[in-house]
Amino acid sequence: MAVDTAVPGADFFFKGESGRNTRGLLRLLILVTIAAAAIAARLFSVIRFESIIHEFDPWFNFRATKYLVNHGFYKFWDWFDDRTWHPLGRVTGGTLYPGLMVTSGVIYHLLRFLTLPVDIRNICVLLAPAFSGLTAWASYLLTSEMSDSPSAGLLAAVFMGITPGYISRSVAGSYDNEAIAIFLLVFTFFLWIKAVKQGSIMWGALCALFYGYMVSAWGGYVFITNLLPLHAFVLICMGRFSARLYVAFTTWYALGTLASMQIPFVGFLPIRNSDHMSALGVFGLMQLVGFAEYIRHQLPSKQFQTLLRAMVLVVFGLAFGGLVLLTVSGVVAPWSGRFYSLWDTGYAKIHIPIIASVSEHQPTAWPAFFFDLNMLIWLFPAGVYMCFRNLKDEQVFIVIYAVLASYFAGVMVRLMLTLTPIVCVAAAMALSQILDQFLVASQPSEPTESTKANGNANGNADIKDKLAAAIPESLRSTKAPLVGIYSYLSKSVITGAVTAYLLLFVLHCTWVTSNAYSSPSVVLASRLPDGSQHIIDDYREAYYWLRQNTKEDAKVMSWWDYGYQIGGMADRPTLVDNNTWNNTHIATVGKAMSSREEVSYPIMRQHEVDYVLVVFGGLLGYSGDDINKFLWMVRIAEGIWPDEVKERDFFTARGEYRVDDEATPTMRNSLMYKMSYYNYNSLFPAGQATDRVRGSKLPAQGPELSTLEEAFTSENWIIRIYKVKDLDNLGRSHQEAVGFEKGNKRKKAGKRRGPRTLRVD
């Protein structure tokens, strides 16, 4: 970075041995400041609301962490959870990534050991911000490996620290796997680069260790499992096979695979699942190529080399064919559905609606890129281009990562998260290049013969050489081009512009974080006309009602989105939750919600449901409610019972999805519709009931329920809870019982026409 050399005596601090120390100290200070800024930027939600766990999945992680802390590690490892997926239960200990919980548990016990008793909730809430500081540091390390420029790493760190693409998943309270996984991802990549560069078993082993940690923390580890082999494969194809690469890759693969197989959820996947086969294949290829290289060193015969090359290709082909054969025969599990949906964005909607129904699995809209990355998104290609200019092994990695991550981020909103680190690194490289050119106060020196001979002594001279080599020597002016910035004007303009961009970036990041990513979504905030904040706390109101007014083992049926929250906040068993491991069970709930009461009631009886919870936003205009999600329930149920639930029946003849007078009978008789609008009319003058989300007027006659009774409705009607009635004491159907209570006379059986039905005893 540029410093003012005019100050007398400053030379001591900026030159020689002590100069290096000063720069090291400065760098440390800057990194610490960046980490502090990264943490501070993520605290909006705690300051605005409170120290609370956000959204859905974090509630499960929080609950699991509490279990771990209370019952110890082995109990956690063997945890059979009988309060979710009633009555199937869930082998939770064997179906989760324990890295996050174990990390918090270790921190918790460490703090206790240091006699700092901190509530486990606060550790969970603040874990993500703390790790974002580490991520900034890791991206500094990674970028420093890529670029000679001292500023690139620091810029990457600051970008990583505050870019909204990463903040979206790591604000305080967002206690999700990604909270630590992104740090592990970046750090594993750094260790990999280090291993490849040095060909060191130590770095390779460290890389495997952190890869193992990553596997224990997030399902996204598959990205590393495929990216590292791809990098190695591309390097081999480019003819860059070396002992360094061989050592790094084999060390990582052998140790990393062993480490990953220790996680029960992963188990034998690394040798049985297609997603992991590329690593295995490249490992095999690496041995062949290594052997071939060895032979080549021994025998220089050119014919032999070609033969060997042919052999390599044949073996590779055989191995690939064998893999296909194993996949077809079922020994190796076929690609998972989520994997297919990465290539065909329409695949999930047709085959696995449960995946398509998740909003974060939708393809990314283009403004999201700018929203999450701001100016980095246009610096990013420049950074990738820079890599091409100086293409060493590690730059190849950047290029591959950039291409893959860009594609995936375009397919799925959620994968924006894996794109963010590489965007930060590449953008930092591009920006540091600009700053290094323009933020130098001294004039570029005239090229001399000696510098030309030395080549790399000066960055400018280096560029000039390259340019001279690149441009055809037909023109006189291009024979010896002068490259360098001489004018202070252009220097200051560019520097000023870059500074302005950076400031705008900070402004944008802060604004996005504050407005878009800091809402816990458990608590909703709105503004009153006078500008003051109004908190809508219906979720917690309802969950605490459940906690305090129902039996300890009252089973609550709701759509799976709310399963984790009910488990975490209401502490009641649920039928389905966000784990979505059993599609049939979810479809059963979908069927119960989308069928007539007479069909739903036996399903609910069979599953011992005591309460049904629905989210209804019609009164408040809260659009994320169950009626808007209803079609997904229908689709998922249709996937299992295509004869009983039909999506078409929920649309009007003109193909509209309506809730008003023109809603189809199927729609109006569905349990979900009835539960949402039951008694809703009573809030309005006769015939005036309107749904503020769908913007439609409701039928004058509200729906009637006979198998359920309303148990609770929250303040703003967002959550409605119904109690499932017991069977009628006199053995009648509920419709008849309700009719009798209302005083309807029953038709006499004797007056029925047709043959008499005789009783058989």
Binding site: Y74, W77, D78, P87, D553, N729, F740, K748, V760, D761
Partner: protein
């Protein structure tokens, strides 16, 4: 299930005075105070059995079935009324609430008076149909009492009721029972809660004496489709008995001499008194009441194997909340039956058995429970089995619903977990794993040997430099 149990407890508390298992307060709704004398033998019998009788007219303003929202009486006896309705205290809805509250009703109808519409619509809720014209009688030209109804054939004489195999008969009496001017009921086919006690003989039919016609074109019901006495037991075990002929309870029929119109038959004393006693005893829960005592389930393996026969059961973990798949478990349930004045060991009728289900969504096991031991007033049924190879939340479920027995529905929820990481057999125990284990050790050993050789073998000085 809670209300009858509470009732049972209360019944035990008032043991000295009452013999019913669910309380002694009996409300008799009788329209005319003067009619009370007609049934004096029946009242004496009831009072002798420990019931506290309260007489009320349906028009009585102080009549209320409920006190503070709870049923004020354990039992209700409704005698026929002349009025069209039953008054505001006995609407069908209130009567349904009364039954839902766990109280028992004995409804006596009479062919002499038309049935009130309230009763009619109440019975419709129970899936019992009465003749539409409200004044029809059951008539039989082969089984009438030739002494009192030689002309009209409307006093039917029937022997003791018989039931099919596996159903306990609480109503058997010696001799003939007379049902004068009975209202026939037709039971619906759908409700499993209904059962007929006394059916009309196959030659009976429903006839309206007010229709002066000689023949009946389309009778309401014929033959054994007509029920003269039918019983309904609600899901909460509250009993509702419909007796077609209130007259059968009258003193004059308790001691009447009856004779079948068959040549050679002799006049004999009617068994109405015994039948009335049995019918009221069953309705008012002196008979056929089942009680579940202790339910125990525990591991039956390892150190606890076969412990059920010893006295050590108290020292082990009884009724644990969690088991593991493939555990051997022991289940026992204690059942008693109320017999007029005491709890007796229960045993199911011939040809029937008590079953245990171990179920999650659907039963994984359905086992007959075996009577293992008997105490002074209960039988202990047990079963031992191996849990299925499926983890989840299961129920030990004993459901015993039989006609004339109160319902037994006992669910004990347990969690069945998977094998923990240290519960699998160790690798060296599995013979199939031996090649792999030896492979590991050969590799380790080989590597050590290689390292040793490498370290201790000095390479020879290179004589010629290889290219």
């Amino acid at each position: 299930m809670r209300l009858p149990l509470l009732g049972l407890l209360l019944g035990l508390l008032s043991f000295v005075s009452a013999l019913s298992a669910s309380g002694s307060k009996l409300l008799v709704v009788i329209e005319d105070e003067a009619d009370k004398g007609k049934y004096s033998q029946f009242w004496t019998d009831l009072e002798n059995r420990g019931f506290q009788l309260t007489y009320r007219s349906p028009k009585d303003a102080s009549l209320s079935l409920f006190l503070h929202g709870e049923p004020a009486y354990s039992h209700l006896l409704l005698l026929p009324v002349r009025a069209k309705g039953l008054g505001p205290a006995l609407t069908p809805n209130l009567l349904v609430d009364f039954v839902n509250g766990g109280s028992n009703v004995l409804l006596a109808l009479s062919g002499e008076q038309s049935v009130p519409s309230a009763i009619n619509s109440l019975l419709l809720e129970l899936d019992i149909n009465l003749p539409a014209d409200r004044t029809s009688l059951v008539v039989d030209h082969f089984n009438f009492d030739s002494k009192s109804a030689a002309e009209k054939h409307d006093v039917i004489l029937l022997p003791s009721p018989e039931f099919k195999k596996g159903v306990k008969n609480y109503f058997s009496v010696d001799g003939l029972i007379a049902f004068p001017r009975a209202v026939g009921q037709v039971l619906g086919n759908a409700s499993p809660l209904l059962s007929s006690v006394v059916k009309a003989p196959s030659t009976a039919y429903v006839y309206n004496p007010k229709e002066e016609g000689e023949s009946v074109e389309d009778p309401f019901a014929t033959g054994s489709q007509i029920n003269i006495v039918s019983a309904f037991q609600a899901r909460n075990s509250a009993r509702f008995t419909v007796l077609g002929s209130a007259e059968a309870l009258e003193d004059k029929w308790f001691s009447a001499s009856v004779q079948l119109p068959v040549p050679g038959s002799k006049a004999e004393k009617s068994s109405n008194k015994a039948f009335a006693q049995k019918l009221s005893a069953w309705t008012f829960m002196e008979l056929g009441v089942l009680k579940v005592g202790q339910i125990q389930h525990y591991l039956n393996e390892g150190s606890q194997k076969g412990i059920s026969n010893t006295s050590e059961v108290a020292s082990i973990d009884v009724n644990p909340e969690i088991y593991r798949i493939k555990n051997d478990v022991h289940y026992s349930i204690e059942l008693s039956e109320w017999e007029i004045d005491h709890w007796a060991p229960f045993s199911p009728p011939q040809g029937d058995s008590l079953q245990l289900e171990f179920s999650m969504l659907s039963p994984f096991h359905r086992l007959n429970l075996q009577p293992k031991a008997q105490t002074a007033n209960s039988t202990i049924y047990t079963s031992e089995f191996k849990l299925p190879d499926q983890h989840g939340i299961f129920n030990f479920f004993v459901e015993y619903r039989r006609p004339f027995f109160t319902n037994v529905e006992e669910k004990r929820t347990v969690t069945v977990r998977h094998f923990a990481h240290d519960e699998w057999p160790r690798s060296y125990v599995i013979s199939g794993a031996w090649p792999w284990i030896s492979g590991i050790w050969v590799t380790v050993g080989g590597w050590i040997v290689f390292v040793a050789l490498w370290l201790y073998s000095k390479p020879a000085e290179p004589k010629v430099k290889t290219r």
